[in-house]
């Protein structure tokens, strides 16, 4: 039996990597993937606690998160696609036109 702390450490590492990616990268797709990474690190935490506490509620919430993430992926990728069609680029520095 792998102790719960391992799961949590792995989850924390994944979340930090995802967060750093969101804050530092300029490529929209990579930022997008980093958000997915953050979501999945949370999923991992839920599942780990669910197994550890013997409570299925955590796993059910994970399904909700996955459903939302899928929807978000669909919309997000569509936006990126539309952006690329217009700008021939997915660099977010090219779409800061609302900035003063």
């Amino acid at each position: 039996m792998i102790p719960i702390s391992h799961y949590l450490i792995l989850s924390a590492v994944m979340f930090t990597i995802g967060c750093a990616g969101v804050l530092t990268r300029r490529n929209a797709i990579i930022i997008f993937m980093c958000i997915e990474l953050m979501l999945n690190s949370v999923n991992l935490t839920f599942v780990a606690f669910s197994a550890y506490l013997g409570d299925s509620a955590g796993q059910i919430i994970v399904f909700f998160v996955m459903a939302v993430a899928a929807a978000e992926a669909a919309v997000g990728l569509a936006i990126v696609l539309a952006l690329f069609r217009n700008k021939k680029s997915v660099d977010i520095n090219d779409v800061n036109i609302l900035k003063w």
Partner: protein
């Protein structure tokens, strides 16, 4: 009957709304004109019915209040839209609606073909509506609403032909004259408001009956009463064109002539007289103010009458005559002869309205010529206008038994018996001047040889104009019979009728000396002699030589010029008050206070804020990722605090 008083006010309101909203689209002048006229004529019938009801009821039941709705309620302070129907207000209502109706009918003829025909009748109805609120109100606030309303209508109607030029002291357009009237009235209105505030502080109410009931327990000579009455009187000097605020009225002649007749002669300018009469009890409690009122009235009467001697504009003569006659009314009020004042309001409304409408008829016939030096010989051309004008001139000059004789003589007699010989002498001298300038005007306008240009074709006015003239001339003849003095064997019906209204005030005034009828006859004889000699000289001098003014100017140039330039009062006001005010406003208030101080402060505040935000806005980069970084840093800080703390 008095329950129907609401109808009196309702009809002008309906007329105003109908003509105001739809008048533009009504093609027929007749329809517009008769809607406007009936909106005043029907209230006259209602008021007459109410009067009939009052005549049939005992004296104690003649004064009633009809409350329509609560207008303002704030804590214990309450103002109702309520009308007080009593002997005084019904009389004023009859004058306003009666003379008003005749002038409306006259206007149908006079304003024929004017671009703003419907606008004119809308304003006239608005005026009647406001004036009726003024005279019927049972409290100061509603009266003030009417007071301001008539002032507004006066402004709108003086400037009715706003594209027309009008010459006066620093006045070039009719609009300037309208502004002048409005501004001068503001001074008076401001004093009226201060008076109202004082009344509220003193009595805690603004309803006439409550104020009068509380005041009746006070002793005469109270200093608060002095200020209240003085402030109200200053209000009256504005509206009723008394010294020192009379200067607007002669320039108000820029308006169409029916307006001069209705607003600036018969009704609105008597509002001040009515207001003082309505507050007669308060005035009786302030003998010092009474003295001021009497002196100002006498001074106004003589100053205006003397200016009238040397004016050449037919309407200007009448305007100064109006100011002078209003002076008589205040003289009467000031010596405590309230009935005599109101009596003169009534007779003056008849003969002065007739004179103004007659002058309008002349101006109409002469194609907008107003200079009497360029008239003459109009009597055979327009006989109806001439005879009505002549009758009214006799009335104003005080020929017995015409109306002006009774009212003016009662005033002069009261000035002597209740005031002093000096007040009587001033009034009598003004009466002489009145008779003289009236017949100077009649002679120059209607008699002698024609002096008008060959291309002018004067003609008698249409019946809509002459019928009101005839009716008013008839009233100018008979109106005085309401107040035949006891010395002439009359009952002085008006005196008895109004007595309950002034009863409490008269109780507080010192009783007049008793003089024998012989003395009274003597004074009447003097009045008649004065009137006749004014008539005789005015007619004789100007019939013999229409250019007699030039002779006077040559012989007594200084005096004549002073009179014809109105004692340089307008120039003095311009130099002493208006120009310094404008200069102060321009150089100090505008440039220093407004531009430098106020604008400087506001702009400075904006600049300080802008410079701070110039630094602070650098934080907001607009880059989402930097915001997210802030959130993460903040989160970490909070987490750290929780974990370490």
């Amino acid at each position: 009957m008095h329950h129907y008083v609401g109808l009196i006010v309702l009809f002008p309101l309906i007329g105003l709304i109908v003509n105001g909203l739809f008048g533009r689209h009504i093609r027929s002048e007749r329809v517009v004109g008769w809607i406007g006229s009936l909106a005043v004529g029907i209230p006259f019938l209602v008021a007459a019915a109410i009067l009939y009801g009052m005549l049939g009821s005992p004296v104690e039941e003649r004064s009633n209040t009809v409350t329509l709705f609560t207008w303002i309620a704030a804590g214990s302070f309450q103002v109702n839209a309520a009308y007080q129907v009593d002997q005084l207000s019904i009389l004023m209502t009859l004058i306003v609606t009666g003379v008003g109706f005749l002038i409306h009918v006259y206007s149908i003829g006079y304003m024929h073909g004017d671009r703003g025909f419907w606008r004119f009748f809308t304003y006239l109805n608005l005026f009647i509506f406001a004036m009726l609120n003024l005279v019927l109100a049972d409290n100061y606030v509603l009266m003030f609403l009417g007071w301001e309303g008539v002032g507004l209508c006066s402004y709108l109607l003086i400037g009715f032909w706003y594209e027309k030029k009008f010459a006066g002291t620093s006045i070039t357009w009719t609009g300037d004259a309208a502004n002048k009237a409005f501004w001068v009235n503001r001074i008076g209105d401001f004093a009226f408001m201060l008076g109202m505030f004082l009344i509220f502080r003193e009595f805690g109410s603004l309803t006439f009956s409550t104020v009068m009931d509380s005041a009746s327990s006070l002793a005469p000579g109270n200093s608060t009463m002095f200020w209240i009455t003085l402030l109200l009187f200053i209000g009256a000097t504005g509206k009723s064109a008394q010294i020192p605020l009379f200067v607007w009225l002669p320039d108000a002649m820029a308006g169409p002539t029916p307006v001069s007749a209705l607003i600036h002669a018969a009704t609105m300018v008597t509002a001040g007289v009515y207001m003082v009469a309505r507050n007669s009890l308060l005035y009786a409690l302030a003998p010092d103010t009474m003295m001021i009122v009497a002196v100002i009235g006498a001074l106004t009467a003589i100053v205006a009458a003397s200016i009238g001697l040397a004016q050449n504009d037919i309407k200007k003569v009448l305007a100064y005559s109006t100011v002078s006659q209003l002076g008589y009314m205040f003289l009467a009020l000031g010596v405590g002869a309230f009935t005599a004042g109101i009596f003169h309001v009534m007779t003056h409304a008849f003969f002065k309205a007739c004179l103004f409408l007659g002058s309008g008829s002349v101006i109409h016939a002469m194609h907008e010529e107003q200079d009497i030096r360029k008239m003459g010989g109009l009597a055979p051309v327009m006989p109806k206008t001439y005879y009505t004008f002549l009758i009214s001139s006799f009335a104003i000059a005080g020929f017995p038994p015409l109306s002006g004789f009774f009212s003016k003589d009662e005033i002069l007699w009261s000035a002597f018996s209740q005031g002093s010989v000096l007040l009587w002498a001033v009034g009598a001298l003004a009466a002489l001047m009145t008779a003289f300038y009236m017949f100077r005007m009649v002679t120059l306008t209607f008699l002698g040889t024609p002096r008008w240009a060959k291309d002018k074709h004067p003609h008698e006015s249409p019946p809509t104009m002459t019928i009101p003239l005839i009716v008013l001339a008839f009233l100018a003849v008979t109106g005085g019979f309401l107040g035949i003095p006891a010395a002439l064997g009359g009952g002085n019906a008006l005196h008895h009728w109004l007595h309950p209204v002034f009863e409490r005030a008269l109780d507080r005034l010192p009783t007049a000396h008793e003089y024998s009828h012989m003395t009274e006859y003597l004074f009447m004889l003097v009045s008649v002699v004065i009137g006749v000699s004014g008539f005789w000289f005015g007619r004789k001098i100007y019939l013999a030589n229409p250019d007699a003014d030039d002779t006077f100017a040559a012989k007594a140039g200084g005096v004549f010029r002073t009179l014809s330039r109105k004692y340089y009062i307008d120039e003095g006001y311009m130099r002493g008050i208006v120009n310094p005010l404008v200069a102060t406003s321009d150089r100090f208030l505008s440039r220093v206070v407004d531009t430098a101080l106020i604008d400087g402060f506001v702009n400075g505040l904006a600049k300080v804020t802008a410079s701070f935000s110039g630094v602070l806005r650098l934080v907001q980069t607009g880059v989402v990722q930097s915001y997210a970084s802030m959130i993460v840093v903040g989160l970490l800080l909070v987490l750290g605090l929780i974990l370490l703390g």
